[in-house]
């Protein structure tokens, strides 16, 4: 029920955005998220953008996970 899916913002028009998930377009309400621009990724939940996906943090999480893989002999 609390599922949310990362979606790429294609365009923004006032309080709604057109977003894409694997090439399929959906409307995302922006009633609870502002400063959204085309190119952003947002989490789509029940027709609403609930939060942006932070690209830098996503990289950082992956880097940490990768480090865990690389450091295996030292554990």
């Amino acid at each position: 029920m609390c599922l949310a899916i990362p979606a790429k913002v294609l365009s923004v028009d006032g309080i709604a955005a057109v977003v894409s998930i694997e090439g399929v377009e959906y409307t995302a309400s922006l009633l609870m998220l502002d400063n959204v621009v085309a190119g952003d990724y947002i989490m789509l939940h029940a027709g609403f953008a609930i939060q942006k996906v932070d690209a830098e943090e996503a990289e950082e999480t992956l880097r940490l996970l990768q480090e865990e893989t690389d450091n295996r002999p030292g554990i």
């Binding site: 029920m1 609390c2 599922l3 949310a4 990362p6 790429k8 998930i21 694997e22 309400s29 009633l31 609870m32 998220l33 502002d34 990724y41 989490m43 939940h45 029940a46 027709g47 609403f48 609930i50 939060q51 942006k52 996906v53 932070d54 690209a55 943090e57 996503a58 950082e60 999480t61 992956l62 940490l64 996970l65 990768q66 865990e68 893989t69 295996r72 554990i75």
Partner: protein
């Protein structure tokens, strides 16, 4: 898919698994509160990647599963009114009430419609000015702001025929209620999308007062394994605290706009959870300021006395005390096609999830 595939890489998941195996000494019990996490654990077989010292148990985070029989019976009573169009998220439609379900009511000719977003209910209300549209508001802090936004929109557009029956609930009181009841947990895998709205301060009590580890986790297998690793490290070092694994979506302060909507439209109220009973301040009722949109204020319809399904142990499962395989009905009298209790209905219910991914 970007932000999903990267977190499903097998070698990554296996390497975190190895690290957990090496770090884990103590026997610990971790509860995943969110139904989405329950599904991911079953779907990706994460239990098989953990040492026997780490036990994962499922909590009460499936809104459909915890919706009370009274709420459902009230919804059916509204559906039977000739001038009502009832709108609901799809999950709820098959849940058995005391005597019927919304699906059966629909088959009997009542106007019950499934919506993906609450905003569709506003459209239906606009298109049917001679009808009353009642939206069944279920869900936690992730979903409740959407209902709040719809109510604010309805007021701005002077929609007089849109109503909400709110069974929205909040997470912290039920987490504490389980602990106060004596359920033994060492740490919580905390719900990622609830936390995206609320921020992380709602868990501070759990770490400080109850001395539990809390890690807010994403929903992909590498996310969840990393969350288990973080909890293992906290608990092995005897330093339980609140941490965020799901940094790409969850910020400490949460989503302020959504919080504002929640505070504007709802007030905290005592609420009944299926199997768990009444939990103080665990529900969200529509505030008097928006009473015009509160279905309970507008309708006065007779509701049958509620009865719980016989033999169903959904309540024990929601407490983490039992698993679906402990239930005599599981996979026999109770299946997704013929559910007896709510935990088998919702795709993210513990029983439905165990059923789908059983050996």
């Amino acid at each position: 898919m970007k932000y999903i595939d990267e977190y499903r890489k097998k070698e990554l998941i296996l390497s975190i698994s190895q690290k957990i195996q090496k770090r884990s000494v103590k026997d610990i019990v971790l509860m995943e509160v969110c139904g989405g996490h329950t599904m991911a654990i079953q779907r990706f077989g994460l239990r098989s990647l953990l040492p026997s010292s780490i036990r994962l148990i499922s909590g009460p985070g499936c809104p459909v599963c915890v919706s009370s029989q009274q709420f459902l019976d009230q919804a059916m009573a509204y559906a039977r009114q000739p001038d009502v169009i009832l709108t609901t998220y799809g999950d709820l439609i098959r849940v058995p009430g005391s005597v019927t379900s919304l699906e059966k009511e629909r088959a009997a000719g009542r106007d019950v419609r499934i919506v993906y977003s609450v905003l569709e209910s506003l459209d239906i209300a606009r298109q049917n000015p001679d009808k009353k549209v009642v939206f069944l508001g279920i869900g936690f802090e992730t979903t409740a702001p959407a209902t709040a936004a719809a109510i604010v929109q309805a007021r701005e557009r002077n929609l007089g025929n849109f109503f909400v029956l709110s069974a929205h609930k909040v997470m912290p009181p039920v987490m504490k209620a389980l602990l106060d009841e004596g359920v033994k947990i060492d740490g919580f895998i905390a719900p990622g999308h609830v936390s995206a709205i609320t921020g992380t301060s709602i868990y501070n009590d759990l770490a400080e007062k109850y001395k539990l580890g809390v890690v807010v986790s994403g929903f992909e297998p590498a996310d969840m394994m990393q969350a288990v690793l973080m909890l293992t490290e906290q608990l092995e070092a005897n330093s339980p605290k609140v941490e965020v694994q799901y940094n790409r979506v969850v910020h400490i302060e949460g989503n302020k706009m959504a919080q504002h909507l929640l505070n504007e439209v709802f007030v905290a109220a005592d609420d009944v959870w299926r199997g768990l009973g009444m939990i103080p301040e665990s529900g969200l009722k529509i505030s008097p300021k928006f009473a015009d949109f509160d279905a309970t204020k507008h309708f006065n319809v007779p509701v049958e006395p509620s009865t719980e399904p016989k033999g169903c142990i959904c309540g024990q499962i929601l407490r983490g005390n039992k698993t679906p395989v402990d239930c005599k009905l599981f996979a026999k009298a109770c299946t997704p096609d013929h559910p007896v209790g709510a935990c088998m209905v919702s795709g993210e219910g513990t029983c439905a999830s165990y059923y789908k991914y059983r050996d």
